[in-house]
Structure formats: structure tokens, C-alpha cells
Amino acid sequence: MSTQMFGAAIPRTADPRLLKGEGAYVDDIPLDGALHAAFLRSPIARARIGSIDVSAARSYPGVAAVYTCDNIGALDMEMPLLVPHPCLVGARTQRPLARDDVFYVGQTVAMVVAVDRYTAEDAAALIDVDYEPLDVTVELEAAAGDGAHLVHADVLGNVAADFTQTSGDPDAAFARADHFTKISVRIERSTAAPLECRAVAARHDGVTGELTVWDSTQGPIPIRGGLAAIFNIDEDKVRVIAPDVGGGFGQKVMLFYPDEVLVPNAAMELGVPVKYTEDRSENFLGSNQERTQVHEIELAANKDGEVLGVRDTFLHDTGAFIPYGIAVAQVASTSIAGPYRIPNIWIKFQAIYTPTVPVSPYRGCGRPQACFAIERAMDQLADELCMDRIALRRKNMIRKDDFPYLREGLLFADGLPVRHDSGDYLGAIDKLETHMDIARFRVEQAAARKENRYLGFGLACYVEGTGLGPYEGAHIRIHPITGKVYVNTGLTTQGQGHETIFAQIVADQLGVAITDVIVVEGDTKAYDWGAATYASRAAVVSGNAVYKTALIVREQVLETASGMLEVSPIDLELDEGEVRLKGFPERKVTLAEVATISNPLRYTFSESSKSAAQFASSAKHDRPPLDEGAHPGIEATDYYSPPCATWAYGGHAAIVEVDPDLCTVKFIRYVCLHDCGRVINSMIVEGQIRGGLAQGIGGALYERIEYDEDGNPRNANFMDFLMPYATEVPEVEILHMETPSPLNPLGVKGVGEGGTIAVGACVAAAIEDALEPFDIERLHEVPLTSNVIHAVLDRAKARNP
């Protein structure tokens, strides 16, 4: 009897290939005769374009074509608004190549296609553009304020969207509350910065008419649909492949980036394959970013700490365009009450244009910002009420018997009401508190202070709505000759280990070895029903689709095998690639044999295929070989459509030491407790948490995309934009809890973003606690760079000379 795969921490099946350097990322794929693209990008944040002279570029040796808005035909359009919403009062999306105006430094103005990238860059430098610079207002609050220069002349106040949501009766709650705590918090911009920059390659087959596009994307299916629509080609003639993808983190789920339409267009026009690989500079200048928000959040509470209501109004920086709609701001809004009951909520946001790189989701997608706001507010409320910060949280947590806890009036990013489905929030905070032994820490902290060493403790809780619909599907087929199991989904992986976890699910249901399950994703030709990989949904949505499909396949196997062995299906079991009679394992058939028999053959071409032939012993002679309503082979497709998001949750706690002279922060201890329901592969789950956490540390202490007052990027490279190395990320202890989701058959919840969400709030609280003897102000912004910490200490000194 083989070991159960679901829940096992088995090493990944994709590893050997990747370790040997045999991964095939888009730029690795050899396309004979391919030409290469480079872009000319705007060097000015906001300008009118007077004229574009491409003549020198066009005649440069080795250049095949130069494109501007004037020679891309129907592509000269504002690209799709991906997620429409009624509150988008001023939605604007960009054109693949700018016409008349540019709106941010980095916006694509022209594309050169040449014999190689070096030549293409040479030629791009020869393009002469006449820009008339316009005035800009870059900083978010100023852009939202009176007298701001408009990014889009016809969008008043730079307001792309304006949305207010209400749950319960916040006015009444505020009217009867005894105590109010109001704070303002700020989260600065960051970028996903996957190590593989974006890349797209296209080839058009003149004979078959098929357009094949390799795209480093998280969503090949919508890309395929979009390309078919934009080029007016039948969908079956457009194939989009996401091969190996070197990290996505949200940045790569988007359509379209200009190159995603321009490169296929060039390939079709020029009749040769065309490749474009973004360089790192361009990833900073042209691939979407996220995070900037400013919240004014107010809690209304009783004197005993029960939080009756929350009001939050925030500004969300959407950059120069809003292709992804209000997703980030909406997720932030619907996460604002965290794991707390807070039955009365009023939350309003405005999405504001600034002349900067457009914003779309980056791991966390608004949850880090909301968590920072609510957790810092809860900390302050606790202090004002002279309550322990954990006790205040405990008092307000959604309790086990509150589930499912509906927040009426708040619609999550999937258009469905926010409903916390399950969890043990109180158990989680208890477990975290016990694990951290805070009483002992306080003793250590006091002793350290006597030696002028400053240790601090911080804790923050988070919730994560995961597993969004609309649906995902799976297709499974058992191959007749080998008995191997082929699985397809509509998703694609950027390192999350789909091949392994989906194989684990299937292996359990069909009794096969993991190595006999082959998962093929990311190719619209292999399978093309589904959405994309985003928002921590793969395990939940595709995982359950795979599971449901595997169940159907299992039934087919048992049905067919029961006919072959002439026993009842309930007397059979599946193990080690065979179907056996329980208690009599020598009476068995292999999966390969079952799959072969299930497909009646006329022609046999191998020994094993003979069993399915017309005159074989198993053949029926009194009726059609294939029953009415039956299908040949062992194969099924099924889908899972979630009733609503399923909510993961957890808490982070940290002990830091702050050097008040150098203003540097060292981690003494970092603990992450999480509950993502049932766990398919604990090694992969922990990997997701650790990776998310490192990005959280980046956002808490180091990462900040900077623009000067003219809208010029100040740190568009890896030297000046500070992503953490191994020396900047602490060792993390992970505590698990498992409260199965009641919403799906596998009981799983998503975990992709959980590591990131609470880091900012946790670290800010810890630093604040460490520097408490200096009577500093509250820390309500991230990142808390050493420069920021110094300024905080300086201000404290000035107040208390």
C-alpha cells in the first residue's frame, strides 16, 4: 500500500530540469531566423509629442522595421480595460505606442525590429522625437489635491475611480462609541521585480495560419482570447504558451503590455519570428508596480476595547493608467477589518492618476496596505485604552461560532460578498502569543535597555481572501500504452510547484506514482478553459478541479476494470498503477490495460493494443463496441467554481534590535503562524510563505520606487532599488494550523500571498517598541529605512532636548 501523497512534503518533479539549466524560459526558446525588438520609451513624464522622425532608424543596417502609432493599423487603440466596474469614472488605458501624448517616463513610443537586440537598441537611439514637456504633479496627495496638474486632461481631479462601501451602520456605531482612535498611514510604492524580466516571442505559420506566442505571462488563456479578438483571428488559430516563467508575483498577469500585441503583429507582418526580452531597466520603467496608498483610518470603540466601527478613507495611486481597474483598492477595502468582527464599516477610496508607471496587483494586492492600516490602528487604540495589544485583538476577533461571518455590503474582488468562512483566529493568536513568550521577552528587553541596547516586539494579524473564481477546469487522460496519467489545467506556474501538487492529488485518487503523473499547463493548445494564476487561487480552484476530475477518472477505471475482472467495482482498489481485487491482489489489471481496453480498436499496432481489438476475448459481439453515451478511453474534464473566496489567515511576530546610532534594524526572531486549510505539500507551502515574507521584508525596510518632482524615476535599477539579499532576510519559524475550508472538497485555502501581508505592520510595531525609550512618534509609514528611522529619532530629540 503506497503512502498518501496529499499532505506529503515530497520534492518537486520540475526540479531536475531546472537545476540542470534545461529550463525553457521565453528567451531560451530558439527560433531560427528570429528578429529582435527594442523600444524607444518616453524620457519625460508628461509631454505632447510634436513629431517622430524614424528615418535614421529605418535605414540603419540590420533594421527590418520601425513601428510607431502610425503604422500599426488597428492596434493603435486604447488597450482593454480588464476588470470594468461602475465606479471607474475616469478609466484610461494606454496605447501600445503613444499617439500625441506620453503619460509616464518609460511609456512606449516606438518599436524597432532588427537582426539582434544590440542593433535594435542602436537604431532606437537614432529616433528623433519632438516632445513638448507639460507640468506634472507626482506625489499622490498633491495629485489628488486642488490645483494638481492633470495626467489626463479630461479626468477631473485625477480621479480614475471613486468608491465607497458600507457594511452595517457605521454612523450609528460612531454615534454611540466612547473612544475614537484616528491615524494616518502611508505605504510606498514597490515593484514585483521577478528575476526573469518579461518576454514575448511570436511566430506566424504562413501555411497553417497559426499564430504561436510564447509569453512570460501568468495568464496564457486570456492573452490568447485578447490576441484573437484584437487581430480578428479565430481562437483556434492562436496558441499562447507560457513556458517556464521566472517569477510573476502579479506583474505578469495583465493584458496587454504593449509588446504582447506589437511583437505578434510584427511577426505576422514581417513573416519571421520576432522576440522581445525586456531588460531590467525596462522592467522598472514599463512593467506594472504597486503599493502606494495613504489611509486615514478611524476606529470607534467602547472603553472596554470592543471596536464598534471603522471608517477609512484612502487614496490609491494607480499610476498613469488603470488597466486592471480597481482590484488592488477593492481588495484593500474589503480586507480593512482584518480578522476582527468590527460589524460596522465605512470605507471609501479614490484611485488617483499620477504620471508614473501604471499600477496593477503585486503579491498581496492591497492586503498589505489594509493590514498596515488596521493593525497600526489597533495598536494605537490599545495603547490609548491602556490595554494589552494582544488582549485588544483577542477581544475583537471573529470567534469560531461566528463563522461564516458575513460582511454585508462589502463585495470582494470576485464580485461576491465578503464572508469569512472558517478559521480559529483566537486559537491562532493564542498559539502565537505562547510561542513568543512575551513575558520573558519583556525581562530581556528591560535588561538590554540598561546596557543601551534596544530590543522590540511586534505582532500583526492578517486575513487573506483566496481562491477566487470564476472557475478553473482540469482534464485528465490515462494513456493506453504506458498507463501514465496526463493532467492539464488552464493555469501556469511561475515557481509554485503546480506540477507536483496537482500530481499529488491525482496520484492519491488513481493509485499511481507521482512520477507517472504528467502535468502540462500553460499551453492553450493543451487546454484552454480557465482564468489565470493570481490571487492565491491555484490550489483552491485548479486543485479542486483536478480532484473532481480525478474522481471521475477513478470511477471510469473501476467501471472498466470491473468488466475486465468480472467483479463489482466496490471490491476493487487502485495501487501502484494497478487495479486489484481487495484481498486477492494477484487478480489485477494495469491502468495501461484498462486504458487500452476502453478504446475499441480496429487496427492493432503493438502487443498491448491487441487486447482492444475486434476479435479479442473481451470484445462484445452482440452490440456496438462503444455504448450510447459512452466515450472511448479513460478521460474526463471537470470544473470547480468557488461559491466565494475562502479566507486564510495568520499572524506574524518579530523581535528586533535597533541600533539608535546607526538606525539599523537586526532581526532577533521572526515567527509566522499561518492557516491555509488542508495542506497539499508542506514544503511548497512553507516555500511560498518564506518567499512572500522576503518580499514583505523588502517592503518594510528597503524597497521604495522613487520619482523626483518631475516624474523621473530615481532608482530604476538593482543598485538603487534595494531588494533584499540573503543577508537582509531573517530566518523564519513557521507555525502551522489547519482549519479545513468548508467551501471546497479538498478543504484547501490559498497561501501564495500570506507571507507578505502582515510584515510591514509587524516590523513597524517592533521597531516602535524598540525605540519607545526615546519617546518617538508612532511609525505609520513603510518602508522604514535607516534614514527614516534616523529622522524619527531626530524629531524625538528635538521635542525632548
Binding site: 546610532d661 528597503y702 522613487e706 534595494l722 535607516s786 534616523h790
Partner: protein
């Protein structure tokens, strides 16, 4: 980000290098390439030609005498870092090099290359300055030796003429009883310093400081000596208040305007702290063998 076109020449002798430099003012020397090639990739630098000096045998030599460590222009930073005799003769180099970029960059980057590049935040120029080292240069008119203080003019600017080649850098051998230390604060491991401090001092038998060289990087447009701080130390016992005063005096030396990484006040504080801590470390090492 690909380099622009340039002419590439590989020379086998110093004479050939000088000859090639003479032909075109807009020429760059390719040694380790770790500073040059990024500028080419970003197209910030557009030289007409590159002269690859990596095959000139004499440039790969390290020569140690009783008084001097001479490091040829092609000697890699990592070679210097691992060299036990150099560590014995002047241990500051090994301690400093651990802070320079990252190990893999040091495998190919040259020590002289870092001096020639003269980034105001770079560590090695500050060490050369503090030690009183020199740079050996060859040009069409012959050789000259330039003291560190005369060599570093400004951020990314040295006294080197377009038709000259640096052939070596020399560091003095430290007196065996010298105390020494290098420390820096950077945002992440390996980043350019917000500020870095190099300390060499000597203490006599009664505990008085007889000599103090303090140098800093990252605080001005070139590495600088912290002369006021030095004067506070010399002639005194290196007690906490003296060291503290030296740190405070050093604040005045910060000329770099504030930027997003560090305000003026923060940089001053970092410098003062680094001076205090590294003078203390150097004092503890004074009199002990350089191991």
C-alpha cells in the same frame, strides 16, 4: 541594455597600451570590467575604443618589500583579499575588501580599477588615502607616481590624463604595532557605503596616541582625511570621551548633500558612530600582531 559599438584592442605591452591611448581620447581601459561594463550596458559611457590590458604580464604582479606592497593593475581584488602576506603587511586591505561589492565581483574586478573609477563612496580609494599610498602611472612622457591625495579629485574623476595608464598601486606596509580598522555602513550587504571609515593609529608605551590617520568614503565628492578628528586623538589617551569628541568633530567633514538614502544629518551620525567604533577597534588592535 546592450553596449554600444566600439573598437576592441587587446595589447600585450604597456608601450602598446600607451600607443593605443594616444590614438583616441575617447578610449576606455578594460581591466576587470566590473565598473566599466555596467556603464557600457547602460550606455552611460560611449567610448570609441576599448583597450584590453589583461594580457600584459607585468600588470598581474604583486610585489612585497619591507616597506611597500605594490599591486599591479590587473591584480584582482579577490587575489589581494586572499593573499596572506599582504594581510600580514597591511591587514586593512583584507578587512576592507570584505565590504567591497560581492565576492563574485571581486573575483574579476581589479583593485586598481576601483581606484581609477574613483566612486566617491568606494572603499579602496579611502584606504589608499588613509594609508598614504600612491598610484604609478605611465604616459607618453614617461612614468610618474601620484600620491593618493593628489590622485582623487572628484567623484569619478582622478588626476589620470586620457593618454595615461595606471600600472600599479602601492600601499605602505603598516608598522607592526599599528592599530587599524575599517568599517562601513551600507544599506544592504555589498552596497556602496553611506559612509565608511578607515583608521590607522599608533599608541606609545604610556598609552598616548602618537599617530592617527582617519579617512572616510561616501561623505564628500572624493575620499577625505578627517583631519580635525585626527588632531583630537593625537597626543591623548584614547578614552571614551576623546574618541567621542573625535567622532563629533568628524561630522563637519560631511559634505555630501542629503539624498534618498541618507540625509545630511543621518550621514553625519553614521560617520560619527563609525569613527567612534572603529577608533576603538583600532586602539584594541594596537600593539598586537597582525594576524
Amino acid at each position: 541594455m546592450k553596449p554600444p559599438q566600439f573598437e576592441y584592442r587587446r595589447v600585450l605591452t604597456i608601450e602598446d597600451a600607451i600607443g593605443a591611448l594616444a590614438e583616441n581620447e575617447n578610449t576606455a581601459i578594460l581591466a576587470g570590467g566590473q565598473s566599466l561594463i555596467p556603464t557600457l550596458n547602460f550606455r552611460l559611457g560611449m567610448p570609441d575604443s576599448l583597450i584590453d590590458i589583461s594580457r600584459i604580464p607585468s600588470l598581474s604582479r604583486i610585489e612585497l618589500t619591507e616597506t611597500e606592497i605594490k599591486i599591479g593593475a590587473m591584480v584582482r581584488q579577490r587575489q589581494v583579499e586572499l593573499h596572506d602576506d599582504i594581510k600580514q603587511a597591511n591587514p586593512i586591505l583584507r578587512e576592507t575588501l570584505a565590504h567591497v561589492a560581492h565576492l563574485v565581483i571581486r573575483n574579476r574586478g581589479t583593485l586598481v580599477g576601483s581606484l581609477a573609477h574613483a566612486d566617491a563612496a568606494a572603499e579602496l580609494p579611502a584606504v589608499l588615502l588613509t594609508c598614504g599610498g600612491r598610484v604609478a602611472v605611465v604616459g607618453p612622457d614617461g612614468e610618474r607616481s601620484i600620491a593618493a591625495d593628489d590622485f582623487f579629485r572628484f567623484h569619478l574623476t582622478t588626476d589620470l590624463k586620457p593618454n595615461e595608464l595606471i600600472t600599479a598601486a602601492s600601499f605602505p606596509v603598516l608598522p607592526p604595532d599599528a592599530g587599524w580598522a575599517f568599517g562601513e555602513i551600507a544599506r544592504r550587504r555589498g552596497d556602496y557605503a553611506i559612509a565608511g571609515v578607515c583608521v590607522i593609529l599608533r599608541i606609545d608605551s604610556s598609552g598616548n596616541c602618537t599617530d592617527a590617520n582617519l579617512g572616510a568614503c561616501g561623505i564628500a565628492s572624493r575620499p577625505v582625511r578627517l583631519l580635525e578628528a585626527e588632531q583630537i586623538l593625537i597626543g591623548n589617551r584614547l578614552e571614551v570621551d576623546v574618541i567621542g569628541a573625535a567622532g563629533e568633530a568628524a561630522r563637519e567633514a560631511v559634505q555630501a548633500p542629503g539624498d534618498n538614502q541618507a540625509s545630511l544629518a543621518y550621514r553625519q551620525q553614521v560617520l560619527a558612530t563609525l569613527v567612534r567604533r572603529n577608533v576603538a577597534r583600532a586602539a584594541a588592535r594596537a600593539g598586537a600582531p597582525h594576524e
